[in-house]
Each structure stands twice: as C-alpha cells, then as structure tokens.
Amino acid sequence: MSAGEMGNPSEGANRDHEPGTPREDGKRGYASMEGRNVSRRQRAARSPIAKAVLSPFITLLCLLILFALIFFGTLYQADHGLFEAQKKYFGYGFVLIGGFFPLPAASLVIWVLSIQLVVMMALHLAWRPNRIGLWIVHLGILALLVGGFITQMMAVESQLTLAEGETGHFTTSYHEHELAFWEAQGDTNRVFSYDETALKPGRELEVAPYKSRIKVRSYYQNCDAFTTRATNGPTYINASGIGVLEQRKPEKEVTQNAPGLMLTLSETGKPDREVLLYGQEINPLILTLNGRRVFVQLRLKHYPLSFALHLTDFVKNVHPGTDVPSSFESYADLYEAGGTRPVKVWMNNPLRHAGYTFFQASYAQAQGMAEKSTFAVVTNPGRLLPYISSLVVFGGLLLHFLIKLIPFVRRESVK
C-alpha cells in the first residue's frame, strides 16, 4: 500500500485510482470526470468527508504517532513493565508523552489507518482486471488488520499447572482477577463472577443467583493486608481475619499485584454486611445468601475447559554427561466426551485441541515431590489470519508484478 494509494487523489499522481486521475495541467479537479456523468462512487470520492478521511497528512501523522508510541512505550516499559506499557501506549485511550503532550494510543491510530484503507478501497481503487493484484494486496492487508483486532478482542492467554497425577479442568489468568460466587454441587461448582473491570468504587452489581446485590466500596489493584482492625469505619467479614487493606503502587510485574476489594453485601430483609476480600487469600469466604451456602473469593480469573487434561508424566532430559537440560516433555491423557487419548507436549510442539493451544512453558521439581508442568494456554480465533493474510498479500503482489511484467516483456520484444 503506497502513500499514493492511501492518499487523497488530489494530492499527486495516482493512476491506479478510478476517479482520482489528476489533471495533467496540475489544476484542481478530475479530468476524467469533467463533462460527463459521474457515478455514485465517484461522487462519494469527491465529497469533503472522503477527502478528509483520506488526507495523506492524516496517514503521515498516524505513522509518526505510531513511531513515537513505540519509542516512548519502550522507554515506559522499562520502568512500568510490559503489561502497563501495552495497556497505556497500545490501547484505546490517550497517553500524555512527557506528562503533558497528548497522543492517541496505538489501537486508536491503527483504527484510523484501517478506516482510511477501507474508504480508499471503496472509493478509489480501480475496478479493472489489471488491478486485481492490487485488490488482493489490499484485501490481504485488511485481513491482517481484522486478524489483529480479533486477537486483541478475543484472544485469551492463561496457564495451567499440573503435578504428575493431577487433572486440570480449567485454566487461570496470569493477572486478571474475578469476584467469584459459587456453590458446590457434587463434583462441580456453579460459578457466578464479575471481572475486576466491573469492580469500580460506588458501582452496584446484582448477584442474581442469590438474589443479592453488592456495592463496591473500594477496589485496589495492589495492596497489603493487615489483621489489625481499622479504628474508623466498619468491621469487615473476612475468611482470614484481615481487617485493613492498604493500597500500594502497582508492581512493575503485574502478576505480582495483590488486589483487594471492600464491598457492601445487601439481601432483601436482612441487614447489610461489609465484606473484605484479598486476592492472595487461600480460603474463600463462606456466606449464607438467600438461604444457600455460598463461597466468595477474589481470585485469578478461571477459564473452564471443555475437556480435561491429566498429567501422567513430566520428563526433563539432559545432555549426556551434563546437567544441562536438552528437552522438557509432558505426557498427558486428554479426556473428553468422545473418549480418552494420550498426548505429548514439548518445547515448540504444542498441543492444539478444541481451539486451545497448550505450550510447554515451565516446570517445577521439588525435592521428593511429584514434578509439575506448567502450560501456557492460548485461545485465539484469529490466529490463522496473519498467516493467511501474508500469503494473500504475497499472492497479490506476485500477480500484480506478473500483470505489469507481461506487457513490459511484449513491448520490449517488439522493440
């Protein structure tokens, strides 16, 4: 995609674009459209909005902003960690460079570029057989952007750690927490949860299964917990005897944050209860809600699997005569409705099943204890789109090259 292709047809030569052929005398206007009927597409291309959207200045500005974001985001990452840098510099908000100069974050900028691409294709890219290669190239780029959007919005990264002999039925987030309510129903837990993004101070949320409501008093992304009682304020119900939370600056590594939540729990016809939950508590709080025994916990977000993985063996091989590991291998049984099958996961050879990809990520060996294997688990509906779009772009470029090459060769042979 050249600047000319993206740009306003009034700005420089662009012979690939249908209504955009500029007058050769350099004056404003479109020679091809003068003196004859213009199509709706051509009229739309001439509209002030289309010209505004396709301004090459905006394209250039977006690229410069992306450059600045990558530069300053990299610097920011050094002090604040990868997660915070991604969230701030590559999300949808605005970021203050140097504390005073506002710039839109990268996702927003990429949206603007995407809109430019689509509008340009819709209004300016010529519908001619000899432009089919360019169409394919642009569609490939569009697929790449769509893939990036799908990944950003829908991909989930989590992890699963199993000791030999253990069976995993769900994975957990690396750093995102949830407020979970559940009842034990035989071998299963029926969970009702709110993501931490919903836990904003002052917000009231329904806990529908138990006919209750919560009102968030405070939510700390990172805090310390103390067993002392606050001299002022309410006495909180807590499973571990915690009485006070003190907010701390979020850690550089977001996985080290310990969140805390204080909320008021309301049930019709009963006095309100003040509840305190700390993200590092081992035991859930047990409450009676609507006459039922309910467990409540602020915990890392769970993602249930549609199957179960039973770790049978973890093997660490070493290079002969040394203690240097040569490979890590996890042997597991995969249980699902259709039956059971053995699977093997090792470095660079993930298990792909039911939309999940399990990568061998880590292991732990404690003295005299069962070995443990940690899998990084990824679900990404758009994971194939970058590969597909790259192939499409390559194919489009090749086709366009051939379309241009053949007439060139003919002309040369005539000479």
């Binding site: 987030s173 310990a258 993200g279 249930p304």
Partner: protein, 247 residues
C-alpha cells in the same frame, strides 16, 4: 487561513464534524466497559492422595506456590472449598533475638512478623526506619515446592534464575537442624544479585519442610542491613521448635 494546506478539507466545517463524530463514535463503541457477569460450571479439583501433596494452593504459578512473605500470584488454584493448603495444625515457637521488635500489623499469611532493628538503635527506643522485615509463614504440605517458593522470593527482589540455575541453587543449599530436630535449609539470595543491583533489597531466609508442612522464615531488607542481621536470623531459624501436626 484557519487550516494549513494538508487540512484544507477541514475548512468545510460539516466534513470536519462528520469525521469527528465518526471518530468519537468508534471510540465510544470500543471504550465500553464490560460489566456483564459470567456464569460457568467448573469441575471441583480433587487433591492427590500422595503423601505430602497438599493439593493446590489458590493463585500459584508452578503448581501452587506458597506464600512466603505473603505473596501468591499467577496460576490460579484449583482449590475448592475446604480443600487447600490452609495452615496445618502445628505450633511453631522460637527464641526472639533481643533487638528484634514484634510488629503489630502482620500480613494475614504470617504467624510471626518482626522488625530486625539495627542493634545500635535497639536500646535507644528509636525505631530503625531501615529495619529488616522478618516473617514466619507456615503452610500445609510442600506449599507448592521449594524451587517455586524461592523463585517467588527471587521475583520480589528482581533476580531471574532459570530452572537449571534453581536446581543448582537448591542442590547447593546449606542445611541445618532446628531446635525440634527437623531439617531446614538456608536460602541466601544476596550472591544471586547481579553487579548492578547494589541498591536492591535482598532476602536471607530458611525453609523447613516435612511431608505435612512447610515453614518459611524470610528476612528482607537492604543488603548491608540483611548482612548485619544474618547471624541473628540464622540463630532465630535454629531456635524454631515445631510441635505437631496432630494426628
């Protein structure tokens, strides 16, 4: 002219406002906060019957790290109600060095929390602002494993150790006996700080591990302060007496 040449199209106010509306609309759409609850069913975790396996501690990478110093993060536990590594029924006692002060505010995970004061200040009644923080934590079973817990301590002071280095580190650990006879291992992370980490905090501690429980002692503070306190921390660790667990 209000708009420079590249922006001349914005001279038409309506096109400018159209573009702005489009942009803000897209922002509004994308900036929506998800407050919808999730409901799902998950299979309750069943602990292993293997002696010493404590099941999984909620929130632990590498299969359930304990909470030395009160921190757990990463891998969420598969714990279910009433089934996890809550403190076992043991009683841990110790002999406190003279210069240490018992802290009023303890982290929920701690069974002991102390400020190891500079001996020069200890008898003046002044509080040492750079006192080393000493904690004692007890957990059931192996608490997720020795290596995993040391890695967590590493993370708290910025040390990165590969699994192989950790294996070497654990192998080279110095062992000792506590007062009640159990085996313990000292963990000194100061040597693992890289040369450019002279301003970093360090950790010196010990782990006492049996099949039924794990007790962690952790002293964390400035390197010079921890070095000063090291003999006292070692004496404190050796003075530990563990009674139980009740059968």
């Amino acid at each position: 002219m209000l708009f420079p040449a590249p922006f001349h199209v914005f001279a038409n106010k309506s096109s400018f406002y159209h573009a702005l509306t489009l942009l803000l609309g897209a922002l509004g759409f994308l900036g929506c906060d998800d407050t919808q609850p999730r409901t799902y069913t998950e299979v309750a975790f069943k602990p292993l019957a293997t002696p010493g396996m404590s099941g999984r501690i909620n929130g632990a990478p590498d299969g359930g790290m304990g909470a030395p110093g009160g921190g757990m993060g990463g891998m969420g536990g598969m714990g279910t109600p009433g089934m996890n590594s809550s403190p076992v029924d043991i009683k841990v006692t110790w002999t406190l060095p003279e210069t240490w002060i018992v802290k009023d505010s303890a982290n929920a995970m701690r069974i002991g929390s102390f400020a190891a004061q500079d001996p020069a200040l200890a008898h003046t009644g002044e509080m040492d602002p750079k006192a080393v923080d000493v904690s004692v934590v007890q957990l059931a079973g192996n608490a997720g494993g020795l290596a995993a817990n040391i890695q967590r301590w590493n993370g708290q002071i910025g040390i990165k150790m590969t699994a192989e280095e950790m294996e070497e580190f654990v192998k080279a650990g110095k062992h000792f006996k506590i007062a009640s006879g159990e085996d313990g291992m000292f963990v000194d992370l100061t040597d693992k700080l890289s040369g450019d980490m002279t301003q970093s905090k360090t950790i010196f501690g010990a782990v006492v591990q049996t099949e039924e429980y794990t007790v962690f002692v952790k002293a964390m503070g400035e390197q010079s302060k921890v070095a000063d306190q090291k003999p006292l921390v070692m004496a404190f660790c050796k003075s530990l007496k563990i009674a139980g667990p009740k059968k």
